[in-house]
Subunit: 339 residues, 2 copies
């Protein structure tokens, strides 16, 4: 039985869509138990709308809610009875294997480090969302809160990202690349130049070299390694350029009678193709390297993404990702010891 | 008379499209003189195709050509008779006011610094392309070769970018923002945190604070300041996401008979709208802060972009941008002196 805590109060569509997604996930898998965390009366009221197997979904009361705009460190420290803090404490105490939240990114990142805690040997836990590409998805690691990273951090990101991509997403021998401003080894800033040779020598990963940002949407690598500032820029620009271009396409289609008729004919096919350029079916972004699993889903997640994020936690647990990470970092230590 | 050197041998469509663009520019402005630089016989043969006013276009022989893949420093040092080096030397000696090249970016950046030279007081010359937004265009500064920039460099980029945006592109009191991973002043990496208060205090610019990458395509700022690594990632991801999304849209349109008919009806309107999401009508990317003007146009530039880049040089010269930069940096010195 895999036990997954779900923050019922975080996100733009909480608690309605969150709870709906949890019920969907419970319907898909018999071997999971879901603990909905939030204001008990509100959650129970919402749950009345659905049918589910007795005992498969339980409710854990938490009276407080963390708002998106609250300073994360304060929120985690002071709101001990918030849904996020209560849920993370359950993961810490082993009462849940994972927690899914669509709440404040900052609070999730801080809580993951401070409450759940890092796996021994992990220097920084990276946030690693999947981004859509022409060929499927790539893992963008790190998009978290680790600013001014060191080369050793990036090497760990590459290792953890490879394990996740291979065993959770199912990409065999995933191609790992470092984000750079040119393909040649001598290019880049100080961080990239120092990290490059370390990645080349790193055992257990399939390092293919540098990747220019232009190649990311084409699917030029499966695991795209960068420090969090650059990762954040990539993630958000992806959204921004996508939204702007699609609004331009819509504007064009609505600009004349002729184009409006064309739009009606084109729409169903277009919707189908654009659906393939969407990573939400894979679930949310895992915060890797923690003693347990923390998954951050989009603030605007609806039931489907919440459900997918829960299923993602199941795969993560079944595949023993954290054991694989421990082993990989332990191996690194042994290999260093040998030298 | 404004004299503009044009590297006839650089770019994917050189010399044909480059020369065609130069002839177009000459046709548009009587008060410019264009010097085409390249292998004289090749250039003259190409020029025979066109009519233009005697003396408005001259040819300067240069026997060598710099290839895109050549290491830039070597190319600039060794190929003294390449079209790029000959042209840059003309700018240096004051025989030309500006040079336009679609050749190797690396060689243009190195040549600009080494041959043309910086304006006194300019610490690093930034490359500043215009990128399309929902509202028009924004100046992305720096996308050049300056890695691991310091806060003082970014402040100069903000000043130079403002001057360019106001007087060449024509945006009154342009909004300047620094690329960041959150809107709050306390967010960011060490470079951004150090630069932020300097920009706040910087006179003569309209600093509006941080900009998240998501807001760049929406036109959230007119001058988008960042160090070159991040700038490069933004520029190239813009291209990559754009190309991938548009290919998905095409794929969707071609996927059924119904959608193909729709596509025929939609196409003209769509083309028109997408044309508005294209910055090439403004010309190429200036390398700012040099004793003269160096403009880098896309490697795949055709005649129209070459022509626009030449016209852009005219505006640059007419508006006395370099004098304004000198004045702005001189004022900075005086103000510092006062303290």
């Amino acid at each position: 039985m895999i036990r997954i805590a779900v923050d019922a109060m975080g996100g733009d569509y909480a608690p309605g869509e969150i709870i709906k997604g949890a019920v969907q996930a419970a319907g898909r898998r018999d071997d999971i138990q879901i603990i909905l965390i939030g204001q008990e009366d509100v959650v129970r009221e919402e749950l009345k709308k659905y049918n589910f197997r007795e005992g498969q979904i339980t409710v854990q009361n938490a009276t407080e809610v963390i708002a998106t705009e609250e300073p994360p460190v304060n929120a985690i420290r002071k709101k001990k009875d918030s849904s996020l803090v209560v849920g993370m404490n359950m993961v810490k105490r082993g009462e849940a294997d994972a927690i899914v939240s669509a709440g404040s990114s900052g609070a999730i990142l801080v809580g993951g480090q401070v409450i759940v805690g890092r796996i021994k040997g992990v220097e920084r836990p990276p946030l690693a969302p999947l981004i859509p590409t022409e060929k499927g998805v790539s893992l963008l690691i790190d998009c978290g809160a680790n600013v001014d990273a060191r080369p050793s951090h990036l090497v760990q990101f590459a290792r953890m990202g490879s394990i996740y991509m291979e065993h959770v997403v199912g990409v065999k021998n995933p191609r790992v690349a470092i984000v750079n401003i040119g393909a040649e080894e001598e290019k880049g800033n100080a961080l990239v130049k120092e990290t490059f040779p370390l990645l080349k020598e790193c055992p257990g990963i399939n390092f293919i070299g540098s990747i220019e940002a232009r190649e990311i949407p084409h699917g030029g690598a499966d695991v795209v390694v960068c420090e969090a500032f650059v990762g954040n820029v990539i993630l958000k620009l992806y959204e921004g350029v996508g939204a702007t271009l699609l609004s331009k396409v819509k504007e064009g289609m609505m600009s004349s009678l002729r184009s409006k008729i064309g739009a009606l004919l084109v729409k169903p096919a277009l919707k189908e193709t654009l659906k393939s350029f969407d990573a939400s079916k894979y679930g949310g972004a895992p915060l890797l390297g923690l003693n347990g699993l923390v998954v951050k889903t989009h603030g605007n997640s609806k039931a489907t993404e919440v459900c997918n994020s829960i299923i993602q936690c199941v795969t993560f647990k079944e595949q023993g990702i954290n054991e694989k990470i421990r082993e990989s970092l332990g191996r690194e230590k042994t290999e260093e010891g040998k030298e």
